[in-house]
Symmetry: D2
Subunit: 149 residues, 4 copies
């Protein structure tokens, strides 16, 4: 679940700040005339999944299979749960772990001499329940199977 964090709009009068509905997460410092906001303590999510497709740009090679294979090795070495499909790879872990490994994927491809890398990514977070990649697919397959009876 999400570790405690405070979020405050940038400018809020002291009166409004005192009425703000997140007392347990109070870190703003009320002072004469204004309330200074702190987003700096907002944490990143503890769980997420990211589906990404990394594209090397400006190589003279229309095939990207070698770069994709290198990224798969990086993912394997990371210890995170991941699945490769035909249009990308899905990784699961904490936000920081997942984003770190995708950043490392960029670095690893640059390391092979590629000057420019573009990645398209879908990231999802939810706080109501934990759900793995397999859970998500199974849920839809179950609905479809129910419909076919």
């Amino acid at each position: 679940m999400l570790r405690s964090a405070v979020v405050r709009p940038a400018r809020l009068t002291t009166a409004a700040a005192l009425h703000w509905r997140y007392p347990a997460l109070e870190t703003a410092i009320p002072c004469r005339g204004a309330v200074r906001m702190g987003y700096s303590t907002v944490p990143t999510p503890e769980r997420c999944y990211a589906d990404f497709c990394l594209v090397p740009v400006g190589t003279a090679n229309v095939s990207v299979a070698e770069e994709v294979a290198e990224v798969q090795k990086l993912l394997k070495d990371s210890g995170l749960a991941y699945t490769m499909h035909s249009a990308g790879t899905t990784v699961e872990g904490s936000w920081d772990e997942v984003m770190r490994v995708i950043g490392q994927a960029h670095s690893v491809v640059h390391q092979k001499g590629v000057l420019r890398v573009q990645t398209s990514m879908r990231v999802g977070t939810r706080t109501d329940k934990k759900q793995t990649a397999q859970d998500k697919v199974k849920r839809v397959e179950d609905l479809l199977a129910k419909g076919e009876k």
Copy 2:
């Protein structure tokens, strides 16, 4: 520019490993018959841009403007360069800074009571030159202007 990093192909004889050009980041452990590879020291890129579109899921509200406004305040507080357009927001900075603020954006929206958040993102890195958002647009506009003379 990218700090030096070691990346090793999976198959490398011990002899070749000893001749590899990145001694400061040497983490391979030569042993009889194989070289074990280590990606753990690969850094994330020093510069990147990310264009992202955050979508709250399962709110009973078809408008997402309040969540988007909250994210804009977070971005303003972060000190990073960012531009909002009609279909998303582009942020520039180091990979770690950019990914941290987007993760915080998810947390901030969850904090407002949204249980599920989906973001679609485009990230780009390049090692040949520094280029701001304005540079990129100007380059294309110059080409178009040249073509019209």
Copy 3:
């Protein structure tokens, strides 16, 4: 707005099928024991916006500005409303018009000799109201301005 369309859940008894409320688009064929469903008459949306970023792959050129400029000319010629930003271009129109011009953008770039093209795209449709690109940005800016008073 969306023209009426028939969508049938997979499981429906023949009796229920006959009572279904979309007679003009009736394509289910009731027969002994089952109802076959037809999605073929479902229309595509009358309005949408698509934000896309087209990436040429396997050119020996790390710059993509020429291909982007060519696509801008295509968009200008199409008559559709569009806005270029640093990380992509947003186009507005009917689903068919928008997808046609983005497909033509791929063809135009292939025509320049590029063998492989990857596009990342965000598409949105809504049936509750019409909203232009400018409306969307203004809505968020108004919320931010209100918050700062």
Copy 4:
């Protein structure tokens, strides 16, 4: 492969037009003082793959499994080759067929009462060879297997 198409920069003098390098695809009409360009005959690609993730917005339901299941039925009915994974679905076919079915997916979800739908999509086209989803995955797996020997 790509059917013939002409692409011309918007403004080109008649002299330059006559020197333009695509004689077989000539449809521009040179006339006194200017050459009118035609992008209207540019076709959309004959083959593409699209990996998409459709997100209903503003439903009061944090689960999207029912909408995803409905879209799977639409895809099944379309006759196109498609594969569902945990973060989206990949469809293969001509550009027009693929974009039509994704547009229909939006309509089908609107039909269920959802007012707003956002899809993130990756589309790829290539003119050098035909490659199925399975081919792409196998190519990378073969490279990885080779590396492990």
